[in-house]
């Protein structure tokens, strides 16, 4: 094993996850391109990107169920390829698709995974009870998993992935397609786990969720565009955002697009966002434009950029989405 000595420090610095130039190619397509990240123990790390950005592939390689084409990864100091089986006792993984058996009940699924992880008989009932309570599934424990709602399925998936008290939890788009009420529930559970010291690696396409992570990696076409805390990421935003509310938002957006460049204007329902290098001059220009066109200005203010604004800004600097 020639590289171990060089990269072993991951074990010493106690990073829960560490990758070095992690790469995966599928004939011709590079799904993950030289990804280098590290996630500290007890951290909630969010990998954010659109479909096909490489989120799932990254997560599969970290969970030891897919081999990288190039580069390396360590989870809890263990090599993701050479020690892939040793990793599996200490991680919980929840795939994007519902990975449980729809024809088994909630309890049967839980017991199955408890057996697979070799959970001792003693204390097992308490552990399962606790997880069911934790995920609000107790009233449904005899229901077939296939008959649960989307949000409950996700919670059951989480409960099963937690049955062996893993140190690192991998969640692949856990809230995709789940309604807001269940999403809130789900995040509440994640924070509870974080308090117990579990490291959580989560992927999501929802940028508002990314804001809740300790650190966020923005991934696009397999490449990591940026990786930092949400607050620091927002520093990457070039310029400021003005939120403009008028009596005719659609026309306002059209006028602003003609006046400024296309990429800097966004229409969000009844509000228009304008990205401007200097908020002072931007505001003056917008106000005079509105009065010249006879559009009633209801309000204009500078707002804090959202992660989505940051993502868009970083992406357009990198040559656009396409």
């Amino acid at each position: 094993m020639p590289f171990t000595s060089r990269f072993l420090p991951s074990a010493l610095t106690m990073d829960a996850i560490r990758t070095h130039n992690l790469t995966r190619r599928f004939d011709g397509l590079t799904a993950v391109d030289r990804l280098t990240i590290s996630v500290a123990q007890g951290e909630l790390f969010g990998l954010v990107g659109s479909d096909g950005a490489g989120k799932t592939t990254t997560m599969r390689m970290l969970a030891g169920i897919m081999d990288p084409t190039d580069g390396e990864a360590w989870v809890l100091g263990r090599h993701s390829v050479r020690d892939s089986e040793a990793i599996k006792d200490d991680i919980g993984y929840m795939s994007q698709r519902f990975g449980l058996y729809p024809d088994l009940t909630v309890m049967e699924n839980m017991h199955f995974y408890a057996d697979i992880y070799g959970l001792p008989r003693r204390g097992r009932a308490e552990k399962i009870d606790r997880l069911l309570t934790f995920s609000n599934l107790t009233p449904f424990k005899n229901r077939l998993a296939g008959n649960l709602s989307g949000g409950m399925k996700q919670k059951l998936g989480l409960a099963c992935a937690l049955v062996h008290t893993p140190k690192v939890l991998f969640l692949d788009e856990p809230t995709n397609g789940v309604d807001p009420v269940s999403r809130r529930d789900f995040w509440r559970i994640l924070y509870q786990l974080l308090k117990e010291g579990v490291t959580i690696f989560v992927t999501t396409a929802y940028l508002d969720e990314a804001d809740r992570c300790n650190r966020v990696g923005l991934i696009h076409k397999g490449k990591l565009l940026a990786c930092d805390t949400p607050v620091n990421l927002k520093q990457l935003m070039r310029g400021a955002i003005l939120e403009i509310r008028t009596s005719d938002p659609r026309r306002t957006a059209r006028l602003l697009r003609n006046r400024f460049s296309d990429a800097t204007v966004g229409l969000f329902g009844d509000r228009v966002h304008l990205v401007t290098g200097d908020p002072g001059t931007g505001e003056t220009a917008a106000v005079s434009l509105m009065s010249a066109e006879g559009i009633e200005l209801l309000g204009i203010r500078q707002i804090e950029p959202s992660l989505e604004d940051v993502f868009v800004s970083v992406l357009s600097r990198q040559g656009g989405a396409q």
Binding site: P139, S149, G177, V178, S182, Q192, K195, A205, L267
Partner: protein
């Protein structure tokens, strides 16, 4: 286009659908004006897809009536199909065909007259920004492109109404913004857009919203109306370190319904903000939090959505899927 005397693109009167004992859609009443962007929201299994299927003439209703583009959804299902465009989250494109071949295929399906064919094809290619990729296999296109191509194919025959079922799920933010620009453009030309979505920020883009839950329409109005009139509770927003710990403390206070993480901060649902704000400030200060400035805000659509659903659950038996 198929103008209707009423000026409405969609009218529904007591529209219902039962599957055996299960009421999937319960006496839905709704009118959508021409050129309106109507957002249809609700959790999975609430009846969204069933309603859309009835509107598209694929599924006959079990009760009530409705018209789409002036045609009766019970009797004129085939006419409706000619007058609507439908695009689902699973883009119905053939991955092994090229962009042009996909467009040609749908031209055939919608029987676009030969003279118009070229023009419509160029229009779709232009709109989707696929000029340089017209001969590329669809499989290699990015999500945003596929989505615009699918939209183009769905409106080749220039329908007065289009139905979009979660059209932007999983697409990158720039493509999503571009997509919505297209939608606004179509609406500006008088096309009615009926869209379902899970993204609450996207719901804000709609002219009007309907929230369906357990088969019933439980709220209807513009985003502004929903945010200002629908909520009985008030929302307090605050930012602090370790919000997950603060949540627990805040929820112990009287008059607080619950707290939820919202972006970087917390949204606290309270009965009366005037009483809750000082209470929260005091409680967190005692616990050693500094620089917490709770303030009452206009609720987000997500707050409204959650609040309405929870209010509904409290009314009914606590056996529901979302009971806590």
């Amino acid at each position: 286009m198929n103008g209707t005397e009423t000026g409405y693109a969609v009218t529904l009167t007591d529209l219902s659908k039962r599957f055996g004992d299960f009421v999937a859609v319960d006496r839905l009443n709704l009118q959508v004006g021409r050129g309106e962007i109507f957002g249809f929201l609700g959790p999975n299994g609430a009846g969204k897809s069933t309603t859309i299927r009835m509107l598209c003439g694929i599924l006959p209703p079990s009760g009530g009536s409705g018209t789409v583009a002036g045609f009766d959804i019970g009797k004129d299902a085939e006419e409706i199909k000619k007058n609507i465009g439908y695009m689902s989250q699973k883009f119905s494109l053939y991955e092994d065909l090229t962009v042009e071949e996909n467009i040609d295929f749908y031209s055939g399906i919608y029987r676009i007259p030969a003279i118009k064919k070229r023009e419509r094809k160029e229009w779709v290619i232009e709109m989707a920004g696929l000029r340089e990729h017209r001969s590329s296999r669809t499989a290699i296109l990015s999500g945003g492109w596929k989505q615009r191509l699918a939209l183009g194919c769905a409106i080749l025959h220039e329908p007065p109404i289009i139905f979009l079922d979660e059209p932007t799920s999983g697409v990158d933010p720039i493509s999503r913004r571009n997509f919505w620009d297209l939608i606004y453009h179509l609406a500006g030309q008088g096309v009615t857009v009926f869209v379902t979505t899970h993204y609450m920020d996207e719901a804000e883009y709609c002219d009007r919203l309907g929230l369906i839950y357990r088969g019933e329409l439980i709220a209807l109005g513009t985003p502004e109306e929903l945010k200002t009139h629908q909520m009985t509770e008030e929302i307090v927003e605050l930012f602090c370190d370790h919000p997950q710990d603060a949540m627990g403390l805040i929820e112990e206070l009287p008059g607080v319904r619950h707290a939820a993480l919202f972006g970087r901060g917390l949204h606290v649902v309270v009965e009366r903000a005037a009483a809750a704000v000082p209470a929260i400030e005091r409680k967190l200060a005692d616990a050693g939090y500094t620089a917490v400035q709770p303030e009452r805000i206009i609720p987000s659509l997500e707050d409204v959505f959650v609040s309405l659903i929870e209010a509904r659950d409290r009314q009914e038996a606590p056996q529901g899927e979302f009971s806590r």
